[in-house]
């Protein structure tokens, strides 16, 4: 096996923290592709150039996603990275694996690929780095035979992902693991066969802590919430008062200023609370959500590509999220239909909503305008009254004047 001189990479092995270079070198000792990837990376660093080509026609038969084509311009110098495709494996909900299964995944990967992974990528998938084109079909066949499937890539529904939810977290307002699994099963066609103008992501977060970062990265951010009041245990509040400044750390940091603390008692004006979870996460033993549980569906977040980055905003303030998820599935389908009819290539749904207007989007998906959808007060006049609305209003007003009874 060729030994590369890697002074720049060696520098990244110094210090007390784990180093990806060390791991790549370890893999390089038993795999030619990984070894060439080390030499290739050193060359990229020393010449300050990237030599990767991306895209193309790689994939497994019948699938349009799951494999991302990567080729190096330096294939002759580093034959091990001439083809270095990325393979996305659909991860289990909440990233639960047994060590036996992880060994199985790695054994198959060692057999067909470079042995390098970056478990997990920000997509959520289990990401395998470096596979030759001719190895893709046998690799897929072997993973398939063990019950694994490819994830999404390209213009398809990307592999849905979720937070660990009720698997470990007491704040989960719905079963994120089950929802993620069921939605993945429901939209297999959309996951494997790219049919949209661009990618579409669904992420499930059990509460507003949003451990899966759905509000920043998903076209559909499905965030757990509740309808009841926050229950307060005043005894526990006193305990917290001994170790923290409740006014500075909780009350003053409440985004809607719905809390007050007079040194004895904590009060919450629940009608003003926006369920951000800040107080609950800081005073776990004293505060708990109550009442009906469900989700808020926010939409439109994305990283900057066609236009700048966007955060999700509220479209559906509350929806029950229970099997068989009929309402949610129908909602997603309606949104996709509108997006597909209106999007230009590479436009995410959030960009199309911005371009076409919230009003036409809400009308198309049949969701009524609601105060929670307003992103910033006095800044989103996206609802305009039609002539019919005005005529109806005038008729009611005339009737009220006549009868003296107000109907509004």
């Amino acid at each position: 096996m060729k030994k590369y001189n890697t002074p720049l990479l060696d520098d990244l092995e110094k210090g007390p923290w784990p180093s990806f270079v060390t791991e790549m070198k370890k893999a390089g000792k038993k795999n030619e592709m990984a070894n060439d990837a080390v030499g290739h990376l050193e060359k990229c660093y020393s010449t300050k150039k990237g030599y990767w080509k991306h895209g193309g026609i790689v994939g497994v038969l019948g699938y349009g996603g799951g494999v991302i084509g990567r080729y190096s311009e330096l294939g002759e110098e580093f034959p091990g990275v001439a083809h270095f495709h990325t393979v996305r494996l659909n991860q289990p909900s909440g990233w639960f694996y047994t060590s036996k299964v992880l060994r199985e995944i790695c054994d198959i990967w060692d057999k067909y690929g470079s042995g390098l992974t970056n478990v997990h990528g920000s997509t959520g998938d289990l990401v395998l780095l470096g596979c030759r084109t001719e190895a893709l079909e046998p690799l897929f066949a072997e993973y398939s035979s063990r019950g694994w499937d490819l994830g999404g890539s390209g213009s398809d529904m990307r592999t849905p992902s979720c937070c660990v939810g009720p698997g470990r977290c007491e704040w989960a307002n719905y079963n994120t693991l089950e929802a993620c699994y069921q939605i993945t099963q429901e939209f297999q066609d959309e996951l494997h066969r790219p049919m949209f103008a661009y990618k579409s992501k669904i992420k499930f977060a059990g509460c507003a802590c949003d451990c899966v970062a759905s509000a920043a990265r998903a076209d559909f951010s499905v965030i757990g919430t509740w309808k009841g009041d926050i229950k307060i245990d005043q005894k526990e509040v006193k305990n917290y008062a001994n170790k923290m400044d409740i006014n500075a750390e909780i009350v003053d940091m409440c985004p809607t200023k719905c809390m007050s603390y007079n040194g004895k008692e904590l009060k919450i004006n629940n009608s003003e609370c926006n369920r951000c979870m800040h107080c609950i996460t800081r005073m776990t033993k004293a505060l708990r959500p109550s009442g009906e549980r469900g989700v808020t569906i926010c939409m439109g977040s994305k990283a900057p590509i066609v236009v700048g980055s966007l955060l999700s905003w509220v479209i559906v303030p509350f929806m029950k999220m229970e099997p068989p998820y009929t309402e949610f599935k129908a909602f997603v389908r309606k949104c996709w239909e509108w997006w597909d009819d209106n999007a230009k290539p590479r436009e995410r749904i959030g960009e199309v909503i911005e371009a076409k207007g919230m009003r036409s989007f809400l009308e198309a998906i049949g969701v009524p305008p609601q105060p929670q959808q307003i992103r910033e007060p006095r800044k989103d006049p996206f609802i305009f009254y039609t002539d019919e609305d005005i005529a109806r209003f005038k008729a009611k007003e005339a009737e009220e004047k006549k009868t003296g009874k107000y109907k509004f």
């Binding site: 038969l61 390209g154 066969r193 790219p194 590509i305 597909d340 290539p345």
Partner: protein
């Protein structure tokens, strides 16, 4: 319309766009169903069958996916031709 005849129409539709426009699945479904007076479901089913056996293939470029006629190289890689 016989499904094999429909597949030929789909192939011709994709071939006509070659080098001019990257076709999404939906472009093909809409275009062929309008051209042939068929339901989108019929066209979708026939197109998917063609993709499954390598008569058409998914491609990716510039951030978006499209459906194309496979190259000989692709067919050879998949063992569909020698």
């Amino acid at each position: 319309m016989d499904i094999n005849e429909l597949k030929d129409k789909i192939y011709a539709f994709v071939e006509a766009a070659k080098g001019k426009k990257k076709l999404k699945e939906k472009d093909i479904i809409k275009g062929v169903s309008a051209e042939q007076g068929l339901t989108p479901e019929e066209v979708k089913k026939a197109m998917r069958e063609m993709i499954d056996v390598g008569k058409l293939m998914y491609s990716y470029g510039g951030g978006a996916s499209s459906v194309e006629i496979p190259s000989e190289e692709y067919l050879r890689e998949k063992g569909l031709i020698k």
